[in-house]
Symmetry: C2
Amino acid sequence: MPELRQDPVVKRWVIISTERNRRPNDFTDHNNHLPDPKVDPLSEGNEHLTPTEIYAVRNPGSQANKPGWRVRVVPNKYPVLRVEGSLDKEGEGMYDRMNGIGAHEVVVENPRPDLQLEDLPLDHVAAIVETYRTRMTDLLRDLRFRYVLVFKNFGWGAGATLSHPHSQIIATPVTPSVVKQKLVGAQAYFEQKERNIFVDVLKQELKDSRRIVYQNAAFVCFCPYASRFPFELCIMPRRQRADFHKIEPNEVSQLADILKIALLKLRLGLNQPQYNFLIHTAPVRHAKKDYWTTLEEDFCWHIEITPRLTQIAGFEVGTGFYVNPVPPEDAAQFLKDVEV
Amino acid sequence: MPELRQDPVVKRWVIISTERNRRPNDFTDHNNHLPDPKVDPLSEGNEHLTPTEIYAVRNPGSQANKPGWRVRVVPNKYPVLRVEGSLDKEGEGMYDRMNGIGAHEVVVENPRPDLQLEDLPLDHVAAIVETYRTRMTDLLRDLRFRYVLVFKNFGWGAGATLSHPHSQIIATPVTPSVVKQKLVGAQAYFEQKERNIFVDVLKQELKDSRRIVYQNAAFVCFCPYASRFPFELCIMPRRQRADFHKIEPNEVSQLADILKIALLKLRLGLNQPQYNFLIHTAPVRHAKKDYWTTLEEDFCWHIEITPRLTQIAGFEVGTGFYVNPVPPEDAAQFLKDVEV
């Protein structure tokens, strides 16, 4: 059973993932490799190589766990959290722990190993976004979970261990520490000004315009003012809403459009860099916490896309103090000029 | 002039390092390489290839900027912060910025490019520790600076761009966000219990003993309960003190001993992994801030050593939610058994 442990000083929860337990000698080969694509377990026709599917966008008449799908969601074979069991929160001396209960799903973005998300037609990307929404809505019904993370690691350096294009969903029984910092920061701003900080950021970015990369009817893509990484991108909805899973149908197609264009610009402009994206959404409101009282008004969901062009030095992780060699204004201008 | 910008939501400062500005095309080759060791600018005899030295531990009779040194501190040729100028704090619409004023120094740990810190005799490692102390004490006198970071990146994947064994010192005009989280967490604990959380952690680790790797008269090295990374290590002094630079002479030699042994255990046990270490010390108390009122009592300096055996996935940076595949009890047992 994996375990969740809390750092007593900064209150950061860590997953001690015994399911993925590796012996010390497993680390002495530092060259991890992606698995052989000939036995790609996520390709169409290899459905028997994955656990039973949870959800799929399928052609009419096709059967579950058989070919004929466009997007397919399966449990992660090596989950960082286990779905069965109870949390059993307890102290261990001065420390706090709980069982590593959660969900860990793989969203197979398309049946072919060689087509990336940004290669797919718009309606296919929209089906992926709609899949995120559907799975998040379902997972949030589980009273054990506090937060649902939707993210993508592209490239080994960005944390991917399978080459077949996929994203991941992790439902957790705790709110991740950076999410909590965002909630606390947004609430402090709202209390002071009675305005939503994300709405104000978007207004200022649109007015200033130097950091805007692309916009459509429902979304704006820009390089954040205090970008940690070169060519970091933020996608913000024009309509403020705390929860990603309350996205409306017309927004789904607009999000597909802006996501595809943002990823195409990164690929063409920066030679297919490794990257991560992450949907920042509000936590569940099963329990009442102080920083949730004004959440509908003070928070706004958004997507962070972080290309991995530079190494993350240890002192950046240890201090939260990032050095970014590319001013976001230059990054935005460069990406704006990349024709897709 | 580099620039410091603050994220408006989480209040995290980022250095936009124009001194290191790279054009977008510089990122399209993802294979960064270490410089040619034949022209190692940090070797003895190549003193003319570095900026003028700031400090050195020298053989009697040797001249500054000439051979005859054991440890040498020079300004970083490509500093992330500039030492000349004033902060000029200002708003930019809703955002906050200031000039990137600070210091960025390189501590050349020994004259030879092929000897790592852990290869050096104990008195030489002690001279390096003493150099950290001396430089930190000096930099803290500058009223523009709030914090002094002492750290080491070993290996390209850990952020190193020079192969010659070296550590780095960065003095910053702001307190890094993770440091502030530690201060706030430690203060909250102290207010509740009137006890120092680091002292309590050390007591519990010594009592439990399963996560202890090594200890000597003045220091204890253990794998933290909520380790983010496999084989992560913490070195904590037995004597609680907020500031690293107030370390006493007998502690310097004990710290040299435990640092050398910790690094040797990592190298021998894990095939010379890339790693970072970072000294967590208290910020300067020029200005009065709420969380500094009890700082002498509630904080304790310590060292974090983080081997880089796994990739840091984007969602871990984006959420602060780490997945560690090796329980710290197993990591500690493994490292304890490595004979050095």
